[in-house]
């Protein structure tokens, strides 16, 4: 449900740089390696789910992509622009939505969207109708005069999503976007993501709800100990791990019975990763 102008721009360059590319991305906190030489590529029109146990390095990865944390080594590129060296251009195409929505309690939804649109340099004349459309679509229009301090978690998450979509990003980064949402709000957020991807946008999300990943994601990356241990479509992951459910596949790759080393499990697109599980947190 992004603006048609922005989506047209995305679709006009289908073979340009990938929406997201991570090259040897690494991050260390003291003696602990949170992310280790992570290589990953997400194309436009693709929904990529990053799964992993607690402390696997998912949030550290997402924060480095969003420019909130600086990698010790390697880099993240959004639409071909390095987040480290060309941050402004990279962030122009990005929207970041953490599990705790980035809102201001004392502002109303239009006031919040007005500020966010300004942050992404949108013209006021273009932003206002887009905000109106998003608020209506996400059923927040009747609440437009209320301050967000009185909103439920679902309403807050939807408003944050409106804030993420208002500037027509090419890449949506979501950290646990469905946590605490009721069925209706959850469905609406999932529909919004699918629609965004169908229109040519790319989504990278982390989630603990494996069912969501299985049903929503085009490709899944499983991260453990800061490393990508497996990557592929849900069907490919099941086939490679010879399991019946994604939960079994996930546990076989990250749980205590995970194999020490196996053959590479990556499917297209590159880069190659290996199925490793010797490093657990």
């Amino acid at each position: 449900m992004t603006s048609s102008a922005d989506m047209a721009s995305v679709q006009a360059h289908p073979h340009a740089a990938p929406a997201l590319e991570l090259v040897n991305l690494s991050k260390r906190f003291g003696s602990r390696e949170a992310v280790r030489r992570l290589n990953l590529r997400v194309e436009a029109g693709e929904l990529y789910a990053l799964l992993g146990p607690n402390g696997a390095g998912k949030t550290s990865t997402i924060r480095m992509i969003a420019g909130l944390s600086r990698p010790d080594m390697g880099e993240a590129r959004i639409g071909g622009h390095s987040v480290t060296t060309d941050a402004q251009a990279a962030k122009q195409h990005l929207a970041y939505l953490p599990d705790d929505p980035l809102l201001y309690d004392k502002l109303t939804p239009p006031e919040y969207l007005e500020f966010v649109a300004g942050l992404w340099g949108m013209g006021a004349a273009q932003a206002a109708p887009e905000a109106e459309r998003l608020l209506t679509w996400l059923q927040l229009w009747p609440h437009r005069f209320e301050r967000t301090e009185g909103f439920s978690r679902g309403m807050k998450q939807k408003l944050a999503l409106a804030g993420a979509l208002i500037h027509g990003p090419r890449l949506l980064l979501l950290d646990e976007p469905l946590t605490g949402l009721d069925a209706a709000a959850s469905r609406q957020v999932k529909d919004a993501l699918r629609e965004f991807v169908d229109a040519g946008g790319a989504v990278v999300l982390t989630t603990h709800i494996l069912e969501v990943a299985e049903r929503l994601a085009d490709r899944i990356g499983i991260i453990a100990g800061g490393e990508l241990v497996a990557e592929g479509t849900p069907a490919e992951l099941l086939a490679r791990t010879e399991t019946a459910t994604l939960e079994d596949a996930f546990l076989s790759l990250t749980g205590p019975t995970a194999p020490i080393t196996t053959a590479p499990i990556t499917t297209a697109p590159p880069p190659t990763t290996t199925l490793r599980a010797e490093e657990k947190e």
Partner: protein, 508 residues
């Protein structure tokens, strides 16, 4: 080691105290330790030096009636400070600490929970005056004034009574206004009560000095009133003083009254407490729409949107706003020297520079330091420097507007030249003060802004004071026609230059 049975009042109190101590930072603990050590050393030195000389004096004689009003006033001032602290502590203990849901769904009786919270509030109230009480008690002990040890009993009773007032006020407001509004109103009330004593003493002085000078020989209307009071040792008003002077009857009566008051408070307020605690977890009630017409949205440019966002966040938080504005109240006595000079232009100049530059610092701390969604700003492509400039502008424009109104009024009073002199000083004071905050970012959550651990470095506070005082001095001197005021201007500029030299960026 004896331990209280789990779930008992003592057990709860132990947990509360442990949590309160855990909130102290490492450096705060160090400073408290060093302070206590130095203070003890000083006391021992003073005690050993003075005690032989004081041995001839009758330091433990009964208090003369003439001393009662002044001592009663001192105790009232201390108690007012405790009530202000108790209101804030009650608000935090009842509504803002996160453990209430856990406690109330446990099998512990709500009355026990409230009793432990009430004692915690009393402790906070007592600690709020510790900086005054501890030296007083320690000095009395060293000098052998054993009757002053009654202050300990008075302190205990006063803290408990202050806690009772705080709880009645906070929970009473819950009944009348509901939880959401009570949060705001009791935060404002806490600040106002704290300022009440100050207002009582300073406002008459300020009003008299600003023109109604009828009796410069009189010290202060409050003292005048006290001088007229005839407190005899048998009167009720004298009871706290006598209790503090270790007279057994009054001391026991005061302690008994405090204990009784606490019991009645806990018994009477349990139901309201549970109701308040339950509703405090609920969402704020949605405000009814002010406009219902289906008007299309109209947005502004990025800069205007940032300014509006900052101003809305300040304006819509009355508790924060009142605390910010009350800080200005404490500056009023600094205007007294200018007022005494009888020079309207100099007085307005000093007042405008001093008040607006201080307001700019307070607002800059709100706009530049207190940011509730820092990750949103950092993940946006807008340049951090441009954003900080807008936030600096948001802090500077309101005090600048207020200052210009003041100077315009001055110009209309026939002092256009003075107003013209003050305008650049106003600009420099407001802009420079806000810049000093901008150059030393201290990011924090808006709700945590007034917490002690979020204070600016000491050297910056001093530098800001020097800058503002020097500018105020310049305004006074230039308006009084003394051109060496340019020297104080140089001092202000030097302070600003030092702050610039020490600047650090918060851009990442």
């Amino acid at each position: 080691m004896n331990s209280a049975p789990p779930g008992s009042l003592m057990w709860l109190l132990r947990w509360q105290t442990r949590a309160a101590l855990a909130n102290l930072t490492q450096s705060q603990r160090w400073w408290i330790g060093i302070g206590l050590l130095l203070f003890s050393g000083l006391l021992i030195f003073v005690g050993l030096t003075l005690r032989p000389d004081l041995s001839a004096l009758r330091l433990n004689a009964p208090l003369p009636d003439a001393a009662l009003p002044l001592l009663a006033l001192g105790l009232v001032v201390l108690w007012t400070m405790m009530v202000a602290a108790a209101v804030n502590a009650a608000l935090a203990a009842l509504f803002t600490r996160g453990d209430m849901t856990l406690l109330l769904h446990s099998p512990i009786a709500p009355r026990t929970v409230l009793a432990s919270r009430a004692l915690g509030v009393a402790l906070s109230a007592g600690v709020s005056v510790a900086l005054l009480m501890v030296p007083l008690l320690a000095a009395a002990a060293v000098l052998g004034v054993w009757r002053a040890m009654g202050l300990l009993g008075w302190w205990l009773a006063a803290a408990v009574l202050a806690a009772c007032v705080g709880l009645w006020l906070t929970l009473g407001l819950v009944r009348i206004l509901g939880v959401q509004r009570t949060r705001t109103v009791s935060a404002v009330l806490g600040s106002l009560i704290g300022a009440a004593v100050f207002l009582a003493f300073q406002l008459p002085n300020m009003l008299r000095l600003s023109g109604q000078d009828r009796g410069a020989d009189r010290l202060n209307p409050v003292f005048d009133f006290l001088a007229g009071l005839r407190l005899s040792s048998g009167s009720l008003l004298a009871l706290p003083v006598q209790a503090a002077w270790s007279e057994p009857g009054p001391l026991l009566a005061l302690l008994g009254a405090a204990a009784l008051c606490l019991m009645v408070t806990v018994m009477a307020l349990t139901r309201l407490f549970v109701l308040g605690a339950q509703t405090s977890q609920e969402r704020a009630t949605a405000r009814p729409p002010r406009r219902t017409a289906a008007r299309p949205l109209r947005f502004r440019t990025a800069r205007t949107a940032t300014l509006l966002k900052e101003w809305r966040l300040i304006w819509r938080d009355p508790a924060l706003l009142s605390r910010t504005l009350l800080q200005l109240l404490y500056l009023l006595p600094l205007l007294a020297p200018a007022l005494r000079g009888g020079n309207l232009a100099a007085t307005v100049g000093v007042g405008v520079v001093l008040l607006t530059s201080n307001l700019a610092v307070s607002l800059a701390q709100l706009t530049l330091n207190a940011e509730d969604a820092p990750d949103l700003l950092r993940s946006a492509p807008r340049s951090p420097a441009a954003l900080r400039r807008d936030k600096w502008l948001a802090a500077s424009l309101p005090p600048l507007g207020l200052g210009l109104i003041g100077l315009t009024l001055l110009a209309f009073r026939g002092q256009a030249q003075a107003a013209a002199i003050d305008v650049p000083l106003l600009l420099l004071g407001v802009g420079g003060s806000a810049l000093m905050v901008l150059w030393q970012p201290l990011p924090t959550r808006r709700a945590d802004l007034f917490k002690r651990q979020n204070t600016a470095p000491f050297w910056l506070t001093i530098l800001t004071l020097v800058f503002q005082a020097a500018l105020a001095g310049t305004a006074y001197l230039l308006n009084a026609g003394q051109w060496w005021g340019l020297g104080t201007l140089a001092v202000a500029l030097a302070a600003l230059a030092i702050a610039y030299g020490e600047r650090r960026s918060d851009a990442t």
